[in-house]
Amino acid sequence: MADVLLEVRELTKHYPVKMGLLQRTVGWIRAVDGISFTIERGKTLGLVGESGAGKTTAAKAILLLERLTSGNILFEGKDLYQFSRSQLKTEYRPSVQSVQQNPWSSMNPRMRVRDIIAEPLIVNTKQSKKEIQTRVLELLEQVGLSTEHAPYYPHEFSGGQRQRIAVARALALNPSLVVLDEPVSALDVSIRAQIMNLLKDLQGQYNLSYLVIAHNLATVRFMSHTVAIMYLGQIVEYGDSEVVLQRPLHPYTKALISASTLTLPEDREQGVEPIILSGEMPSPLNPPPGCRFHTRCPEAREVCSREIPELRKFGNRWVRCSQLV
């Protein structure tokens, strides 16, 4: 049996929409609607979807930055809602850290690099100044920076270097899970490769688990062991990343893959036709009845607008589509 670090069961987050003088709730935005997945120790789960699919809300829920509407999160087999406040503070939060998308806004511009990296240590541990300083320098070297960088401010670094600082800060407490929310999408092409290689190396070295949120499928394939494809708050396909990305079953996964595959002019001459979806993702305030994807699905039938498809197992992956048998 695989070593499961984090399990998410039927996670749901609905945001109320309030209007008028009395701020009455007039509707709910169903940002995340019953998603389940597991993350194994030392492995990476890629969460893919377009903007508004609910990826970031799911990540925020795991980081306990949002209260769940319903559902459970199990960390090392224990339900987080059974944890006391102090247990959360000492056991959960230090073990789950994050790296944000934009290294220009994720760091306080008035703090020096050494203080930025030291902050989680000061808050969460009782280490002495000396110990903290040694640890900060060690972290800087681990992420490929030099110890001489410690006294500088974030603005003195390039985007790639800043993202390295963010990684160092995330690693300061020896976490077991790091949530990476679009870790390379704000960086330049040649710098992305450096950061992705670094993240992979660190994973191997410290047996880290990653939850990678990305919209770029190629990035996800490179980083992830398993993937979950999200559409409008739900998972539409979930499984081993090679299986899902090589032989997709859900029409949405197929369209996403088509949109991110490199097709050269001669491929097109040989008849490789890209799948172009019509329309846009509907509003999560008022999701369509039946299958949420049916309004854009090239394979939709009449039944798709009535019946809500379940996530069903096909071999070693799960797909939410009623047309598959």
């Binding site: 377009e50 390039s158 790639g160 092409v189 992305r192 450096q194 394939r221 949109a259 002019p265 846009e280």
Partner: protein
């Protein structure tokens, strides 16, 4: 070959600041034909956007100046034109689509007003009903559903993909000869990007327009462009047809850039990565600009700039290794 719309010869653009002269574009040459999409690929700060802005003479003056070269549009060097004459070219003969439709549209005017502006300016149509008809047909040209209702909408009422189509309608409203598209799909989602690119391909087939496509995304290049130029620190290092760039690139930077992008159809354990960072435009190396990061560097690379060499029909490279 079809007619050449635009010929850029040794274009040099600099920004003059207190710190000194930033040579953003250090002498680039290329041409664009009718019905052709020409890609300009490179990382941030390589000068691709400044090249685009130079073609429209829209640099933030007085800091930004075109210091040399020629931009020949349909046989006329537009750098010699008077400011007033240039105004007749912008939006009429050359138009531009910017990256972020949220900031390129005015939030306090309806989209109808914004599309009408270039039509009124360049086609001299003043009659209100006639203008409305033109605006609706411009929206329909970009396949915006229900244009009769949409003309009264403000930008915030539309999705990102629709907004970028409105920007496209403005750009195409006067049937320009050349369209400069500066990362038009970077702010869009994957499936919406695919829609937008397919739309522009069909527009190009209908109009024979030349497109200068500025991007950092090789996937978009493969999809859209007929020919590509790879830019680095203000210079074009390699120009070739799209297939050649992907299948037989010669410049070490092109090779490295293509290898450093993860691909969906290949499983690799490590990505190739280019060490270091691009040089400062304030203080460029005397030799090849890529020399400090180049894996195949030779002594001469640090001393002298390589000349552009024609290696094959339509394939040219600036690299000492090749010459």
């Amino acid at each position: 070959m079809s007619d050449v719309i635009l010929k850029v010869e040794n274009l040099q653009t600099s920004f003059f600041t207190r710190a000194g002269e930033f040579k953003a574009v250090g002498g680039v040459s290329f041409e664009i034909h009718e019905g052709e999409t020409f890609g300009l690929v490179g990382e941030s700060a390589c000068g691709k956007t400044v090249t685009g802005l130079s073609l429209l003479r829209l640099l933030p003056e007085p800091a930004g100046q075109i210091v040399g070269g020629k931009i020949i549009l349909d046989g006329i060097n537009i750098l010699e034109l008077h400011k007033e004459e240039m105004r007749n070219i912008r939006g009429k003969k050359i138009s531009m689509i910017l990256q972020d439709p949220m900031t390129s549209l005015n939030p306090v005017y309806t989209i109808g007003d914004q599309i009408a502006e270039p039509i009124r300016q360049h086609q001299g149509i003043q009659d209100r009903n006639e203008l409305v008809d033109e605006v609706i047909s411009a929206l329909r040209f970009l396949q915006i559903p229900a244009p009769e209702q949409r003309i009264h909408d403000y930008p915030f009422q539309m999705s990102g993909g629709m907004r970028q189509r409105v920007v496209g309608s403005i750009a195409m409203s006067c049937r320009p000869r050349l369209l400069i598209a500066d990362e038009p799909t970077t702010a869009l989602d994957a499936t919406i990007q695919a829609q937008y690119l397919a739309l522009f391909k069909s527009i190009q087939e209908q109009t024979d327009i030349g497109i200068l496509f500025i991007t950092h995304d090789f996937g978009v290049v493969a999809d859209m462009c007929h020919r590509v130029a790879v830019m680095y620190a203000g210079k074009i290092l390699e120009t070739a047809s799209t297939s050649t760039i992907f299948k037989a690139p010669l410049h070490p930077y092109t090779v490295a850039l293509i290898n450093s992008v993860p691909r969906l159809d290949q499983k690799v354990d490590r990505l190739y990565s280019i060490e270091g960072q691009p040089p400062s435009l304030l203080n460029l190396p005397p030799g090849c600009r890529f020399a400090p990061r180049c894996p195949d560097v030779m002594d001469i690379c640090h001393e002298q700039q390589p000349k552009e060499v024609q290696v094959d029909d339509g394939h040219s490279v600036s690299c000492w290794k090749v010459s």
